[in-house]
Amino acid sequence: MANEWITELRVLIDDGRLLTSPADCYSYSFDGSFGSYLPEAVVQAQSTEEVSNVLKLANQRNIPVYPRGQGTSMSGGPLPVKGGIVLDVSQWNERLDIYPEDMVAVVSPGVITSDIHEKANEHELMYPPDPSSSHVSTIAGNLAENSGGPRGLKYGVTKDYVIGLEVVTPEGNIIRTGGRTIKNVTGYDLTKLIIGSEGMLGVITEATLKLIPKPASVRTLMVTFDTLVEAGGAISELLTSNIFPSKMELMDQASLQAVEQYSAAGLPTDVEALILIELDGHPLALEEEIQQTVTLCRQLGARDISVPEKPEEAKKLWEARKQVSPAIVQWKPTKVAEDITVPRSKIPDMCERLIDIRKRYQLHLVVFGHAGDGNLHPNIICDKRDHEEMQRVEQAVEEIFQSAVQLGGTLSGEHGIGTMKSPFMEMELGQTGIDMMKRIKQAWDPKDILNPGKMFPEPGQKLVLRDD
């Protein structure tokens, strides 16, 4: 019997939450990125103890385990690349408690990120990280990948809002890191180590999140530019003018057209670039900042500037922004989504390089993203059935990474490395840099049970986007 361990799993997990049929296994073989890998079993965990038991069994039997939220990952985080068990935590959402007096939220791993936003809002509080998929994604997935989102510009990313975790270690032991206080220097900061470790160092089973007071007022500006490079320049300028927007998002012409085709949000489609800016703070201060921003944008060559009066109008614009990523596949079915990040001053340079790469490789390259923090989303829209085109895509992706690193930036601002970017890790970190990370992994997970095949490249591994 090949899978004796599945029989052993049956003892640990209720029938309805241990899935092994071909239909179920195929349904957990993919995520929002690339490729499909078949697991042998899916466990829908509902308690810390269950996770611990599964990991202990997995260690005994040498079975890989892949933690998974709602599978919206753009980097292959939850893909079961070496078979084994997908550990689905998306249905484990019993706890979402807000403690206004401590300004924290305590959440189960499967809680949907936007539910935290909503619940915090009821207490006039805010949980700032807001990835575009926040209405779908689980908090555990956000924690594992250290997700960002538009508000990263002013408020930082997921790791800046986590003060405590309950974690099941790869060997199945239960630990607590951090706590419920803002300040905590007791020992190594394991909380930060776990956040963004892509499910390779532990399974997060509960998190204590820091909340902040909700800004009194929020306003949005929409600014258009004739060229992408001009828009990039304006972003850099604006950020050094003593105004601190909460969001600053860039959309190029192709993304504008795609979104308008999906839902007529009223975005212009005849400009090369659009910047959405959000300012927040005290209403009186805001009024002045809006005026300053408008004046500055005019000086920087903006074509049109509009400031929606009604919150619903502004909301519509931001919803349109959230749709860009999935909407851009209207031309061709395959999307290779990158999220390189460069220092803010290098945004115009990066824009120029992207345009150059688009031309040289003759690809449908769309650029949008959280330009305010230098986190751009160059997306290549292609057809994975077209091998010749995919080869060009592979080369273009490599060049995009090289450009970002050369400009002092990074491979990934918020999507994570997973399977998609591991071949390029050495380019940014150097051999010793990777080696130090590997040593941490080795110490935590000696049998390489948790999420194997991610982040670290196999010897000679290259980016391959062709499946044959």
Binding site: S21, S27, S133, H135
Partner: protein
């Protein structure tokens, strides 16, 4: 290999590539919410169909997840990549249908009739109509009920309580085939009477015709019209649906109307997609497209004609449960609510998650009773919050399902379920003095 190619064509395999697996459909899917696995999500089902097309899994593997799909198409509204889920679903259903064993069908129909229907007077009534339906459509509508045997004995009693009294064939025959506009003549419309609507909701049909004539429409009921074919298409009987569509297209062409009006969200959605049935048949495709252009839900047409005035106050709190197919396929969103807002005295309270399917979904509630009731329970929780005294619907299936939900919650003395048309008629509509547009 050719087998696989043929299969790929049937299941619309190339369309599965449109899905980028972003997961934005997950929060919109009622079965993902209640069944809690990717396998029962839109993204999961699309992937399974794709895997079938690649020969990685068999038809038997996709059967359960596909059959458990409500077909509400809420995922299409949520999808930013414009995946044509409806077509992928129906392709998969066709393949499943073809693989089901033929021989047992007759036996099962008989079993359903003799063991479960005949003992019940009300079901005998209904069965009479189904026989009529069968004759009217000339096809195996009755065979849709074969699956009844799986669950029938326990649950038929439940549905019996909410079934309205059906109109007799004589009553149906008394329906006029033409009604002039009461006031100004603003349009000539053909009325699609439907099967279920025409039997179980005959009086609603009568009122629809009257309401249309008050609203400025001259109404024609083409005699040769037939069942819209929705139940056939949704259960994988594409060829049958195609033939019904041809008969309807022809019947309404001959009637020379400006609009083809229906009052059942599910039928309307089928009519709005008739062109999908004729891909690769240019002459029929063109005729179907003209038909599709003319097809419209009664609420959308009334809103467009904008000629009604309501003269009687209705002092009631109401909420609206949209038909999924009206919302997600026909994209009729605001019109019913705007019509409600014109009734003097009426207070409309929006239901939380009103866009969510009620679990009726054609014959889903009969075939997959338990799953349907889980979905209905969620719906009822939101319904109760509104404290409405009436639930307004625009589709017969939804109407019966909501009635069932209200009965299960013991609210039958407090809450009624009404078709939008019936409520509008209660408000004593009159032709307007001047049409506003």
């Amino acid at each position: 290999m050719t087998d696989l190619n043929e299969l790929q064509e049937k299941i619309n395999y190339p369309k599965t590539f449109d899905c980028v697996q972003c997961g934005y459909c997950l929060p919109a899917c009622p079965t993902y919410e209640t069944m809690q696995t990717e396998t029962h999500s839109p993204r999961g089902r699309i992937n399974l169909v794709k895997m079938l097309g690649e020969g990685k899994i068999g038809v038997e593997d996709i059967q359960e997840p596909i059959e458990k799909c409500l077909g509400c198409r809420a995922c299409e509204t949520a999808c930013p990549s414009n995946v044509e889920y409806g077509q992928i679903l129906e392709g998969a259903k066709q393949v499943i249908e073809e693989q089901k064993k033929q021989g047992k069908v007759k036996q099962q129909v008989e079993k359903a009739l003799f063991n479960h229907m005949f003992p019940s007077r009300k079901w005998m009534d209904a069965a009479g109509h189904l026989t009529w339906l069968y004759q009217k459509s000339g096809l195996q509508t009755l065979a849709q009920l074969t699956d009844l045997t799986k669950i029938a004995p326990l649950q038929l009693g439940t549905f019996e309580k909410v079934l309205p009294k059906a109109a007799s064939p004589t009553e149906r025959k008394a329906t006029p085939s033409f009604l002039p506009a009461k006031g100004k003549r603003l349009a000539r419309v053909g009325f699609m009477s439907g099967c279920i609507m025409d039997s179980l909701f005959h009086s609603t049909n009568q009122r629809t015709i009257e309401l249309l004539s008050i609203a400025g429409a001259e109404v024609v009921l083409p005699k040769n019209q037939t069942c819209c074919g929705a139940l056939h298409a949704h259960s994988g009987k594409r060829e049958a649906a195609r033939q019904l569509a041809q008969r309807n297209i022809q019947a309404f062409e001959e009637a020379e109307v400006d609009y083809v009006v229906n009052n059942a969200g599910g039928c309307g959605a089928m009519l709005a997609e008739y062109d999908h049935l004729f891909e690769g048949e240019p002459s029929w495709d063109a005729r179907a497209k003209v038909f599709v252009e003319k097809s419209i839900d009664v609420s959308a047409l009334l809103h467009q004609l904008n000629y009604l005035e309501f003269t009687r106050e209705i002092d009631e709190v109401v909420t609206y449960q949209p038909s999924c197919h009206m919302l997600h396929v026909q994209k009729v969103l605001q019109e019913p609510v705007e019509l409600l807002s014109k009734i003097p005295g009426l207070e409309y309270r929006e239901m939380n998650k009103k866009d969510r399917c009620c679990g009726s979904a054609g014959i889903y509630n009969v075939v997959h009773y338990e799953d349907s009731m889980s979905i209905l329970n969620n719906k009822m929780a939101n319904m109760k919050q509104t404290q409405a005294a009436a639930v307004i619907t625009t589709n017969p299936g939804c109407l019966l399902q909501m009635k069932l939900g209200i009965q299960r919650a013991g609210l039958q003395d407090k809450v009624r379920v009404v078709h939008l048309v019936d409520l509008l008629m209660e408000a004593a509509p009159q032709p307007g003095k001047t049409p506003l547009n």
